[in-house]
């Protein structure tokens, strides 16, 4: 390795550390400080406000539902993409990436156009059968599913490719049928990638804002998620409450980061 000269090294170090400090570290630190400015009152006030509690509960519910759906869908699609051949496979593998580069607002609009009860392509039919999607929990789940869709797939596909299918073939030759092979051989081998994908999806689902905002009518206590209530509280000059909810969301993210950091080496062993 060719070493850089000392002044260059220090300059580069200063740029890197300075940039990250002013852009990320200090602002996040300030948030935490402001949350605890009056001791624990911000947090306790927020956690005794029934609207905040129901927003947090809704976020939890929506995130868990979306993660479960994406887990099943993601593992299925990954298996199909890596282990099978079918027409349109290349197109599908490109399409599952699309949600990563679509604006959340556009995601929301797309869902509204199809599922709104007034003139949506499918929404009117569903509404006639008493099912509301937009401005209701199903819409929140769909919006969240959409934005987090590729995360599990992106973790699982490389690992599936890497482990190859010889172990699966060996299992087949030893008498295991397809489901037995999947549960006993494939799933244990991709376990950490799946867990990793789930953690990423969870963090993304908990934090989704734009797409959710479009499909929610933002009614406190009913369709207002935690991220929506951060905005609402801040705009209503309830800054302490906004900080408290934001702090709780940050904690979820920090926990995800820690889990991911702990899993990282295992994924590659």
């Amino acid at each position: 390795m060719v070493s850089t000269s000392t002044p260059t090294k220090w300059a580069l170090r200063a740029v890197a550390v300075g940039y990250v400090f002013f852009l990320v570290a200090w602002p996040v630190g300030l948030l935490i400080r402001r949350t605890f400015e009056g001791g624990l009152t911000n947090l306790t006030d927020a956690l005794t406000d029934s609207n905040v509690v129901s927003a947090l509960a809704l976020t939890g519910k929506v995130a868990v539902a979306a993660v479960l759906i994406n887990l099943v869908f993601g593992v299925t699609i990954s298996m199909l993409l890596v282990r099978y051949d079918f027409p349109g496979k290349r197109v599908l593998s490109a399409l599952v990436d699309v949600p990563l580069s679509v604006s959340p607002v556009v995601v929301g609009l797309a869902l509204v156009l199809v599922y709104n009860g007034r003139d949506g392509w499918l929404g009117t039919g569903l509404e006639d059968n008493g099912i509301s999607v937009i401005f209701a929990t199903p819409g929140l789940v769909m919006a969240t599913c959409f934005v987090a869709l590729p995360l599990v797939i992106r973790e699982v596909v490389p690992v599936l490719t890497e482990i190859g299918d010889e172990q699966e073939q060996a299992a087949r030759s030893l008498g295991a049928n397809a489901p037995q092979t999947f549960w006993r051989i494939t799933l244990p081998s991709i376990k950490w990638a799946v867990v990793y994908g789930v953690v990423l999806s969870l963090a993304r689902s908990v934090g989704e804002f734009g797409a959710v905002k479009v499909v929610s009518d933002n009614v406190a206590g009913k369709t207002q998620t935690a991220t929506l209530s951060v905005e609402k509280s801040y705009q209503n000059f309830a800054q302490g409450e906004a900080y408290a909810i934001a702090f709780l969301l940050v904690m979820v993210c920090v926990a995800s980061l820690i889990v991911v950091a702990l899993l990282r080496p295992k994924v590659h062993d």
Binding site: E166, Q167, Q169, A170, A171, R172, S173, L174, G175, A176, N177, Q180, R184, I185, P188, S189, K191
Partner: protein, 325 residues
């Protein structure tokens, strides 16, 4: 007859991997599928195991029509070149896998696993993970795993190909002895003719998707069906329109035999007890000849000597017309 393959064809895209293959593999024997890399040996073996599907043709295993059976219904044991160990299971769990799938009673499984681990000399490693084993140990474990389910046939795809030369030789001898004990019909793929000759009861030579010849090691060596088989099993040279082995060329310093061909020694190399000659004949042919050091000294050979060549009496000789495509 244990395994019968009839009229088997297999293409990958436009590429013909197997071309109308008919083979019968005898029960209870150790059979080698021998041939150069890319010849279609693995494809044939995998189709027998059901891991791949032929385009047309049939496979019959021990009297059971198996062409359309999925692998798990064929009761074959398969051993892969790269072991295909279940990385997340201990050695004992690996070996027990097939028995657990078959829902055998727990104590029977445990007993059988111990027995097999003893057979492959891995008893003291039963609680290790495969990552803690050497390549040779992993392959022995894979073999025990395949044997655990008492397969009708045992199929091995270049089982020792990923191991270093010394371990390979050990395992080769060990496989032969194991087979003498267990007597399960065994087919193993190899591209190493020495390995095939040393271990197998019967050899099937496969090249470019076709069966070139089937026979015992002696038959293949002494009566090769064509030039390809002959050259794949050992060195070959050409003399006066026939193919033969370099050590089957008789060298004389004067024309004793009728029909001997005159030539000049253009190159002479001494390697241990043998001497290798390149002789340029008057017909313009380059002939390789191998003879013992003693014989060469007796003839007083050196580069530039004039010699007379004839095929030795009883030599394996085939006409050059039979050059295989």
């Amino acid at each position: 007859m244990s395994i019968e393959v009839r009229g088997l064809n297999k293409k990958f895209g436009d590429f013909v991997a197997l071309d109308d293959v008919d083979v019968t593999i005898p029960t209870g024997q150790l059979t080698a599928l021998l041939g150069p890399s890319g010849g279609g040996k693995s494809t044939l073996l995998r189709i027998i195991a059901g891991l791949e599907k032929g385009d047309s043709g049939s496979v019959n295993i021990e009297g059971t029509e198996a062409t359309h059976l999925p692998p798990q219904k064929r009761n074959v044991g398969f051993v892969f070149q790269h072991y295909a160990v279940f990385k997340h299971m201990t050695v004992a769990k690996n070996v027990a896998f097939g028995l657990e799938i078959r829902k055998r009673p727990k104590d029977e499984i445990e007993h059988r696993v111990q027995e097999l681990l003893k057979l492959v000399h891995l008893s003291q490693f039963s609680h290790r993970l495969p990552s803690q084993l050497s390549g040779g140990q992993r392959q022995r474990m894979a073999l025990a795993r395949a044997l655990a389910v008492e397969p009708t046939v045992l199929l091995l795809d270049e089982p020792f190909g990923a191991l270093d030369a010394k371990v390979r030789k050990e395992l080769r001898d060990w496989l032969r002895r194991l087979h003498d004990d267990v007597h399960v019909t065994t087919v193993f793929v190899t591209h190493d003719q020495e390995e095939a000759m040393e271990v197998a009861d019967e050899i099937v030579v496969i090249n470019e998707g076709r069966v070139e010849q089937v026979g015992t090691p002696d038959q293949l060596y002494d009566e090769p069906a064509n030039d390809f088989v002959m050259s794949f099993l050992g060195e070959v040279t050409h003399l006066g329109g026939v193919s033969l082995r370099p050590h089957d060329v008789e060298v004389e310093s004067s024309p004793h035999h009728a029909g001997s061909i005159e030539g000049t020694v253009s190159r002479l190399v001494r390697i241990g007890f043998e001497v290798r000659l390149t002789v340029l004949t008057v017909d313009g042919e380059e002939v390789s000849v191998v003879l013992t050091r003693t014989h060469a000294r007796a003839l007083g050979l050196e580069e530039g000597s004039t010699v007379f060549l004839t095929p030795a009496a009883g030599a394996t000789v085939i006409p050059r017309m039979a050059v295989a495509g």
